[in-house]
């Protein structure tokens, strides 16, 4: 029984992990919580759905379409909502409000164009579940888990082994110095948003597959936020760990005390975490600039 709970927790965790990493990427670079990530996820999920349904695209193609859409949309978001604030050196809070507004905007646009009916992705997989002994796992959960891990490995490779990755890390330490070193900060930021958007695309499509497609899909970005915080804002592997932890904790709470009081307990746990170890599991201490 508990093995099943573990498996459920891990698969939920992998869903959260991809969201959290997309979220953490932007936080790393620009030091703010990008709530428009949710909106990007929703839009790409719908685009993916259109591709799957009307163009009869197989899973891999749908995911590629989603990555592309997500990436482009995120870059567009950066341009429209965040670039000017950066140029004007506005306070961090403006990024936050801008991102929430953009997120709400995307959600409502989707509602207008698709109405609030919800849609089911066509079935991509032949069999829908796998049985490993006592434990049951759905194929889409397994795929999500595998694709999450793969994407994270690819991301890690990009960040730690490529030139652009090094540039990203440099910019996240210090904007100005990086640009003094000849790094084109704008391009780097666009690249980061593209990556984040791409990840958002993958998570959007999988959320749509697992949980049907509806305009409020993007609100799951809050889970990504929580996971990032637990794992330590500013750390990518922290975000991943935080996500898996969050998934497990949620499943456990539901198992033990039922779904009713789960939000209350999660709130208490979170509050405790924030007070006792605000930098999270793996976070670096980011001081608010004086």
């Amino acid at each position: 029984m508990y093995l099943q709970v573990l498996i459920n927790g891990l698969s939920l965790g992998s869903v959260y992990a991809i969201i959290a990493v997309g979220f953490a990427l932007v936080f790393n670079i620009l030091k703010f919580s990008n709530f428009s990530h949710g909106g990007v996820m929703t839009v790409t999920a719908y685009v993916g759905f259109l591709a799957a349904k009307h163009l009869e695209a197989p899973l891999v193609l749908t995911i590629l379409v989603a990555i592309l859409t997500g990436g482009l949309l995120a870059v567009f978001a950066e341009f429209v909502a965040f670039r000017r604030i950066r140029r004007n050196k506005g306070p961090v809070i403006y990024y936050f409000v801008s991102s929430i507004t953009l997120g709400i905007l995307f959600e409502n646009l989707i509602t207008i164009f698709f109405s609030t009916n919800f849609y089911s992705f066509p079935d991509f997989f032949e069999t829908s579940t796998l049985k490993l002994g006592e434990v049951v796992m759905s194929v889409s959960d397994l795929m999500m888990f595998l694709i999450s891990c793969t994407s994270l490995i690819i991301l890690a490779f990009i960040i730690y082994r490529t030139k652009i990755g090094t540039a990203v890390r440099a910019v996240s330490y210090d904007f100005n110095t990086a640009s003094l070193m000849g790094i084109n900060v704008n391009v780097v930021i666009m690249a980061v948003f593209f990556l984040a958007g791409g990840l958002g695309g993958i998570s959007g499509v999988f959320l749509g597959i697992n949980y049907t497609l509806y305009p409020q899909l993007g609100q799951l970005v809050v889970k990504g936020f929580i996971a990032s915080v637990i794992g330590g804002l500013g750390s990518l592997h922290g975000a991943v760990m935080g996500a898996f932890l969050l998934g497990l904790v949620e499943i456990l709470l539901v198992q033990i005390i039922g779904s009713g009081f789960a939000p209350v307990f999660i709130f208490i746990i979170m509050l405790g975490f924030l007070l006792i170890r605000p930098r999270g599991i793996a976070g670096i201490n980011i001081q608010e600039k004086a």
Partner: protein, 290 residues
Amino acid sequence: MDFILSIMVFTSITVIAVTGIFVISGLTGLFSLGQAAFMAIGAYVAGVLAVNYHLSFPVAGFVAVLVGLLAGAIVGLPAIRLRRDYIALATFGFGEAIAALLNQSVSITGGAMGLSGIPKKTGIELAVISALICIFIVRNFKYSKFGRQCIALREDELAAKSMGINVTRVKMVAFLLSAAITAYAGVLYAFYTTYVEPAMFVWTKSAEWIIIIYFGGINSLTGAVFAGILLTSLPEVLRFAAEWRVVIYCIVVIFILNFRPSGVFGEYELSFNWFRKWWKHLKEKKGVMR
């Protein structure tokens, strides 16, 4: 006529809630995504006291505001020690926790089925007068020592501390004041619609209020009130554009954040200064003719 009255009442209630948010998120810059929860507390406590214990409207309302204050203290104490981003998360969690509690306590609050049968006591006079009083209170708060301290710590917390401002205490006062005002708005709301349910007080409502503040200008109470009135009563006039309404005001907010970050009203506050000058000007003219 009745219908217009009803819009005016809802608008006044929103204005009250907006003044509350203005104190905490505008002046003090603390992002509270859980303000709707205070409104819920105000509405439910007053409602339950009236329906189950048959307390009179003023008594129930008074107790509800006190409970709101208490809740503000409980949440505020840990929350104000957190970093800016974390405050949003903590208050968000608080909002979710309250919603979950309200849903669970079916015997007292009716749970998801809502609480009905609250006597209708809020009249148009009470609503408008309350709104005016709240505006007056918050205005005086803004121009008082506390208000200036709030603005100082919003801009630069470290500098404020080094000036000798007891940052923790100021934040707490702001938090309590806004909790009380928002709870009062909840009381009025409950006694007008006579039915409340947890789904009315979601975090997206808190986010909307914050957007209203940024639209009007975080330094301008006039802006906040004006934005609140505009964005509540406008939908009625624009019924035909209902779907696009949210999209339009999101786009407007993004524009404002990009090009006029200080908000529509900037630093402007309705005051008697220009009135006085005009009056003086008139008097001088009369004097010349004498």
